[in-house]
Amino acid sequence: MTHEQSLPSGRIPSSMRLDRRTVLRGLGATVTLPMLEFMKPALGASAEAPPVRLAWVFFPNGTNADRWVPKGKGKEWELSHALEPLAEYRNDFNVLRGLAQVNAQSLGDGPGDHARSAAAFLTGAHPFKTAGSKIKAGRSADQIAADTYGRSTRLASIELGTEEGRDAGACDSGYSCAYSNNISWRSESLPTGKEIQPKSAFDRLFGVTGGGDPKEQSMRVSILDFVTDQRKHLVSQVGAEDNRKLDEYFSSVREIEQRITRFATPVQLPEGTQTPSDKPSDATEHIRLMYDLMVLAFQTDTTRIASFMLANEGSNRAFPMIEVKDGHHQLSHHENKQDHIDKIAKIDRYYCEQFGYFLKKLKETKDGEGTLLDNALVVYGGAINDGNRHDHHDLPLLLAGRGGKGLSTGNVLEFPQYTPLNNLFRMMLDTVGADRGDFGDSNGILAIS
């Protein structure tokens, strides 16, 4: 195994030591990993054509549309204030206009737009209003892809975030926090959960724990066999609601069992790759580490499907690094106060700048004959348009990458208002052969040539 460049490991004088961020960043930028034998896709795409990667990046609280939406359409358009940090990549993405997630609307359920918009974003489903019992949204696009397309990689999908789900009290007007804190739904009643800590995410992706000892491996299988057998001790004691919970348990066990028997070998990372240690020092580092992990996971073909919540919906994070000391959610209800509007614009731009970092990494990483970006479809957006109005149509959305099929990029594409956002997701699912014909409120496959 050779690398064009491997980073030094072992003892380095502290003045020369690279911080973990540099190391991870360095990887994407400079290391081209040869496709290792075991990483070759077992199913699906042929070894010659690199696989298509799907990613969804979600931001909360809507935008200041005046400064987010670019002017013009087709190839003739001007970057908006918020999108300016993406100038270098304007030919690598499309701006999509007119798409809607109508099931995020109240539809008689009253307040709670934040909770609904996160729950509907990737599912297109209208979440059932509940503070605790009978949680229900819908299956999310990434998990539909994970079911089939995800089977050929070590992890079917990854879900990342930067904010803990823990909140006291209700998250949003009578909706359980499960709705505000998740965009990925494994089943209609089961949020997939997400990794917040870069280190845990790294360990999970690249299998530092465990190791490949076949003896240990067989014991892991024995333990899973043991728990599968436990069902018989439980069934006679429980009722219907309980069975649903236990089903979650046993299907999780089954998924892990399938995975460890098929992908026993841990991912070989380039020499010198360091595990990110504890919690990052600030939000920027945190966000960028998560983007780094997504790039590394795609690069090593550890997974092909990723979702990332830049923050939970309704997040009230402040942004001291860009001199915004008020909370995001509080500001988003700007009541037309100019200084609030200005601060929202700053936050919108800040998030775009971080997204630019992700695009940069994807574009710099070789993948087959092209780059990761050539072979990816990355959605960047949210399910609220204007945070002050809580509307769920004409959503702020970018679609980056060429999906391994030379998708035309660099355009502002206008679709009829209220075109279901799920139509876009069906196009993505279709690209990886995972479209099932219907999905939430979709009424077709979005045509982007």
Binding site: L190, P191, E248, R389
Partner: protein, 837 residues
């Protein structure tokens, strides 16, 4: 699905019958001739009597509710009559234009509601309807002609429909969905199982638990996606490695991290060691930049073994000692100072870099305590009385027969023990040692659903079907300790005595005295009050230079200590009226009270040469970690004026009367204002000058009729607390503007200043007690409360009121309630003719 063949599941059987027996009856409004209730058994039947006069006049009732009597109870009948006779006319007259027939403004069409069940199943919508009508926010105030009487009719009806229940029917409490241990419970359980505080959820990085009904221990919300299962597997592996040692020899050399000691302070190291001779090496140094020395003493179980002089340089001192096997305490003390007059100078410290314990000189070293507790047998253990080695299989049997009941929190059968033994056997077959194989067995038990979930079992009793005693033990321990039941509880469960009311009362008293009950502070109180959100607030440090993470931590600790005190010895009223709190020097300065007779600002450790008047407080105070009980200054009372509550309800740069008002109504009084409409209209006038006082800006807010209704409920309460700034300090002015904390509550009561406001609110102790009980019951049960729980809540409150609503009496009431014991009354005991309370 529902099982009918199992005699244990008698209640389920009964419920199934109830489900099959759906009787649907509807009543025509009064213009129609009254029809007798129609009761049909068997197939569900819905009968509608359409009224020509009312599009909305017909409402049907079904008694398909779990466990409810199949007969429509009198309450529902009465509600249906009132609906047609009184409610519908008002709704049609005032709301119909926008919310009936084709019109469904804001997605609400009242015509959709054709049955009481449907109204009850959309309770959040109907609470909102009740809220906006009561607050006069709807119908639109500009044009509305709805009278106060009409509002009263509608809101009272909704209140009854959603909350009143016929307790005479002995409704079965709704079932609790099987609960997965949340992170906090998992960590505590592991701690109590093995005596090791590992906090696996932090070490492994568990996925955060979602919150439902305001708490993170709600069965239906605690989901288990594959990623969570992966974490459990990793955690089990970590725990098994920490608990079961595989190489005894490594314990011959043990190292411990050192501490830095002040004069007369000690460092203590508990050890569990074998009989023999040991050598302790202590690496020390005396202070920073000192020229003299101090004396150190080494104690073994409080007996002085050695004393030596510590010089201001790094040195290693070796001490030999001898012990017999068991638990011992090693202690090193900064015992004397060469210059006693200057012994308290900050840099005069005994710095212990590290300790190293080597031994025993001969024989085998001891396994750690946690290992010995679990691994109680080895294959070469000699059997009694024959004296032969017991062998691998028998050894694993003994180990898991002992530990498995504690892991599963109940008696286990041979088959269950055998299943774990088989995992060990597979380990041995694969060539692992005995200890390694035990680790695999332990891992299996720790990822078993029997451990991760709290599956409950039922028994029949004379009153009906109830939770078995082991189920009660776990409900008690996870409620009061957020952890597994201890030996005492498991023993009472094994004896089938735990369900006896006197035994339970005694156990509650014992459990509240136990330090583990402090888990209620982080588990219940912090979530009820929203304290966990303080970790997330971003106070502007330029505007509030005194703000620091230490202050944030102190605020949380203060409220926790206060709640702890009230929980053990206080009443509901104390939350509002207590004239005491707990402070460290930092908070004492913050509140402007003395700390142990001293001026707290003098305890702040300023750097030499820094400005004395600098308000920044990033550094430490002397005695920072000491907390004392103090009497509050005149202008503060109870929890409403505690720094945590006030900071929590502020924005990063200024206080928020709206947030404070809402917090008091929602969290303390349990009477939340209606939520803001989905699309908050922008307030054109809201661009008022930033210099306007909060009061002036709120006046603008309330001059808009569509906002005014709700804000006139919230804002006055918040304004009454306006003397406290965004971090909770007292102020008389904001900028140059005088604070006028006067106001009028929505019922017309006038007040001036926070103390008067609180005094008025304290007259609502019954509401506070009811809200507190409902929140605590939600936490205790792990599910949202339903209409049927109203009977339990009323009973708990009634009994506790006689005890002035002490928190203890409320907790006692909760654990003795039908909901907590999951009593499903025996249907044969159901009164034939239900009567209402």
């Amino acid at each position: 699905m529902v099982r009918c063949d199992c005699p244990r599941n008698f209640s389920e059987y009964w419920k199934q019958i109830a489900r099959c027996v759906t009787a649907a009856i509807s009543f025509a409004p009064e213009k129609q001739r009254r029809e007798a209730p129609v009761l049909r058994l068997g197939k569900a039947v819905q009968l509608f009597f359409f009224s020509s006069a009312f599009a909305l006049g017909s409402i049907s009732f079904s008694a398909a509710q779990e466990g409810a009597s199949p007969e429509v109870d009198k309450l529902d009948k009465e509600l249906s009559e009132l609906w047609g006779a009184q409610v519908v006319p008002v709704l049609e007259k005032h709301c119909g234009e926008c919310h009936m027939k084709g019109a469904n403004e804001a997605g609400v069409n009242l015509g959709d509601y054709d049955s009481l069940d449907k109204i009850r199943s959309h309770d959040s919508t109907w609470e909102q309807i009740r809220g906006v009508i009561r607050a006069e926010a709807m119908p639109p105030p500009e044009t509305s002609t709805m009278t106060a009487d009409e509002r009263g009719v509608v809101t009272a009806w909704i209140e009854r429909a959603l909350h009143e229940v016929d307790c005479g029917c002995m409704p079965a409490p709704p079932k609790v969905t099987v609960r997965r241990l949340n992170q906090f419970e998992y960590d505590n359980t592991i701690r109590d199982l093995f005596g090791l505080d590992l906090k696996p959820s932090k070490q492994i990085g568990f996925v955060s638990d979602d919150v439902g009904n305001g708490f993170d221990n709600q069965g239906e919300v605690l989901s288990l996606p594959p990623i969570a299962m992966e974490k459990y597997l990793q955690a089990a592996s970590l725990i098994s490695e920490k608990v079961i040692a595989t190489d005894r020899e490594v314990f011959r050399k043990q190292s411990f991290e050192g501490e830095t000691l002040g004069f007369h302070e000690s460092m203590k190291v508990p050890v569990y060691i074998a009989t023999g001779k040991y050598t302790l090496s202590v690496r020390t140094r005396f202070g920073e930049g000192q020229i003299d020395s101090c004396q150190a003493k080494f104690y073994l179980d409080d007996q002085v073994v050695s004393e030596w002089e510590v010089l201001p340089k790094d040195e290693t001192t070796k001490i030999d000692f001898e012990v017999t096997a068991g638990e011992h305490q090693l202690r090193i003390e900064y015992s004397e100072d060469a210059n006693p007059e200057v012994r308290n100078v900050p840099n005069r410290k005994l710095i212990i870099h590290s300790l190293r314990l080597v031994g025993p000189e001969q024989g085998e070293p001891a396994y750690p305590r946690e290992h010995e507790r679990v691994v109680i047998a080895y294959p070469d253990t000699l059997d009694q009385p024959e004296g032969r080695a017991i062998g691998f299989t028998e050894a694993t049997r003994r180990v898991f027969q002992a530990i498995l009941p504690r892991i599963y929190r109940r008696v286990v059968d041979d088959e269950e023990v055998h299943a774990v033994m088989m995992v060990c056997q597979k380990g041995a077959d694969a060539g692992f040692t005995y200890e390694q194989s035990l680790r695999f067995g332990l891992q299996a038990a720790l990822v078993s659903p029997q451990f991760l979930f709290r599956a409950e079992r039922w028994v029949e009793s004379d009153k009906g079907v109830r939770l078995d005693d082991y189920g009660i033990a776990s409900r008690l321990s996870y409620f009061l300790w957020s952890s597994m039941p201890d030996e005492g509880l498991l023993k009472l469960a094994a004896e089938n005595r735990l369900h006896e009311p006197d035994v339970m009362r005694a156990e509650v008293a014992r459990m509240l005295e136990d330090p583990r009950s402090e888990s209620l502070l982080t588990g219940f109180f912090a979530q009820w009050l929203g304290l966990r959100n303080i970790q997330k607030i971003d106070i502007d440090r330029e505007k509030f230079p005194i703000w620091s993470d230490r202050l944030r931590g102190a605020m949380i600790k203060e409220t926790e200590l206060f709640c702890k005190s009230v929980m053990r010895d206080g009443t509901v009223e104390d939350f509002l009226l207590a004239d005491f709190t707990f402070v460290n020097p930092r908070l004492a300065e913050f509140y402007g009270v003395k700390f142990d007779g001293q001026n707290p600002s003098e305890l702040y450790r300023r750097r030499p040469g820094t400005n004395d008047t600098n308000p920044r407080r990033q550094g430490l105070y002397n005695r920072e970690d000491e907390w004392i009980k103090v009497t509050l200054p005149e202008n503060r009372r109870g929890i409403l004026t505690q720094a945590a509550a006030l900071a929590l309800t502020s924005n990063p740069t200024r206080s928020s009367a709206v947030k404070r008002g809402k917090w008091v109504l929602e969290t303390v009084l349990g009477d939340p204002p209606p939520s803001a409409p989905p699309n908050v209209p922008s307030l054109e006038q809201a661009t008022a000058a930033e210099t306007a006082s909060l009061r002036e800006r709120l006046e603008i807010h309330r001059s808009n009729p569509s906002c005014a209704g709700c804000h006139k409920i919230m804002d006055p309460i918040g304004l009454g607390l306006d003397n406290f700034d965004a971090i909770g300090r007292w102020r008389d002015k904001e900028g140059d503007l005088e604070i006028v904390a006067q106001g009028e509550l929505v019922d017309g009561t006038k007040f001036s200043g926070p103390k008067e406001l609180i005094a008025i609110l304290s007259q609502k102790t019954d509401s506070v007690a009811k809200n507190f009980t409902e929140r605590l019951l939600t936490y205790a049960l792990g599910r949202g409360l339903q209409r049927a729980d109203r009977c339990d809540v009323d009973t708990i409150l009634e009994k506790s009121k006689a005890n002035r609503y002490t928190i203890r009496s409320l907790i006692e009431g909760i654990v003795l309630s039908n909901a907590f014991l999951q009593v499903t009354p025996n249907p044969s005991l159901q009164p034939k003719q239900a009567s209402r309370n």
